[in-house]
């Protein structure tokens, strides 16, 4: 990266701000695409590197968030393609994300934690394309933003997301019912 000395500080500040703001979301994304913790860390660094390189080309044609998610998901696609055959190693990443309880008592905390873990597992089991869509949705991107990130048409995004979201909700309900019965 060849930056002018006076612009270097600004570049670094901008990069830091972007990374700080989106670190948690990027880490959730990495853990959703990877089979192991080490792999997720590698992917995070690949995304961080791609962001650093691409920032020099960023002219603000899209929002920071759209731009960042495009890079993250595209880098993840390349990463997963190359690393697919090397996954039988190290500890699996399943259930590794911490699930802080949102409720006030133990019971509601446990229920919340179970739902979060279940959601995490269900997302990871989705095919790549569906996972990409649902991850964008779960991180709170609007349909227009998802359209800008993926390049799919709005109607395509809406239909597919509606189907996936419904399926996720159903499965979560089923899992919840099972937990209550047991």
């Amino acid at each position: 990266m060849r930056l002018k000395v006076d612009a270097e500080g600004t570049y670094r500040e901008r990069y830091l701000a972007l990374l700080e703001e989106h670190t948690a979301a990027l880490r959730r994304l990495c853990h959703s695409y990877c089979e192991t913790r080490a792999e997720a860390e590698d992917l995070f660094q690949e995304i961080a590197l791609a962001l650093w390189t691409a920032l020099a080309r960023f002219r603000g044609e899209s929002s920071d968030r759209t731009w960042l998610y495009r890079i993250a998901h595209n880098v993840a696609l390349t990463f997963v393609t190359k690393r697919r055959k090397q996954v039988e190693r190290e500890q699996p990443v399943d259930n590794e994300m911490n699930v802080p309880g949102a409720g006030s008592d133990m019971e509601s905390q446990l229920a919340e934690a179970q739902k979060q873990q279940m959601l995490q597992l269900l997302v990871r089991k989705l095919p790549f394309e569906d996972r990409r869509l649902v991850l964008l949705y779960l991180e709170g991107l609007s349909t227009a933003e998802i359209e800008a990130v993926t390049g799919l048409t709005r109607s395509n995004v809406t239909v597919r997301l509606s189907r996936i979201r419904q399926r996720l909700s159903d499965r979560l309900q089923t899992a919840k019912a099972r937990t209550v019965r047991s």
Partner: protein, 194 residues
């Protein structure tokens, strides 16, 4: 139709706290900055090395061609020299026309560019025997056969050059197979939907 972004699923998801690496954000930035600089340097020097090596081969074999006794040997060395120049030209043309997929492209455009990149790399490695191995190996084999030392030794040298050429071609062919497997994996990922 637009989705309610603050629904239960989003709330659950955004409540997840993924494990961290123990590195602060500024440490990650420093790491990334170093990696980016090192990567640029590596690519630059790799290209310089390849061009310089090919140029040296072209010059040395051109000089050899002008100083040998037998016509067959001269033709052989001249072929190697021309082959090295051709490799420089071909690599430069390929590099100029290369369009790497930019990660900031929309997903669908990125996928197309990535598939095109695989096609290109597969084609280049699969045909390396023709544009890379064949001219130089042919030249070396011809020069070995044309040398004025004992004919048996000339045949041994020619056989050795041929074996090296075939080995390089096989390595490239295997690299093409690995790339083709990666491309299939990518296609499998892209069509997979519930």
């Amino acid at each position: 139709m637009s989705f309610e972004q603050n629904d239960e699923l989003c709330r659950h998801w955004q409540g997840l706290d993924p494990p961290r690496s123990g590195k602060e954000v500024h440490e990650i930035m420093e790491l990334v900055e170093t990696r980016a600089r090192r990567f640029e340097r590596t690519i630059f020097w790799r290209n310089v090395r390849e061009y310089v090596a090919a140029a040296i081969v072209a010059v040395v074999f051109a000089l050899l061609a002008s100083n040998v006794k037998t016509p067959l040997e001269r033709v052989g060395y001249a072929t190697v020299s021309a082959g090295a120049l051709w490799v420089i030209l071909f690599a430069w043309l390929m590099q100029r026309s290369r369009q790497a997929p930019l990660p900031e492209s929309p997903g669908e455009a990125y996928k197309k560019a990535l598939l095109a990149k695989y096609d290109r790399q597969i084609l280049l490695t699969r045909t390396a025997w023709a544009w890379y191995v064949l001219p130089t190996t042919t030249g070396l084999v011809v020069a070995s056969l044309g040398h004025d030392y004992a004919p048996a030794f000339g045949f041994v040298m020619a056989g050795f050059m041929l074996a090296v050429g075939v080995a390089i071609a096989i390595l490239n062919w295997n690299a093409a197979k690995t790339l083709a497997a990666e491309k299939r994996e990518l296609q499998r990922l892209l069509v997979g939907t519930e």
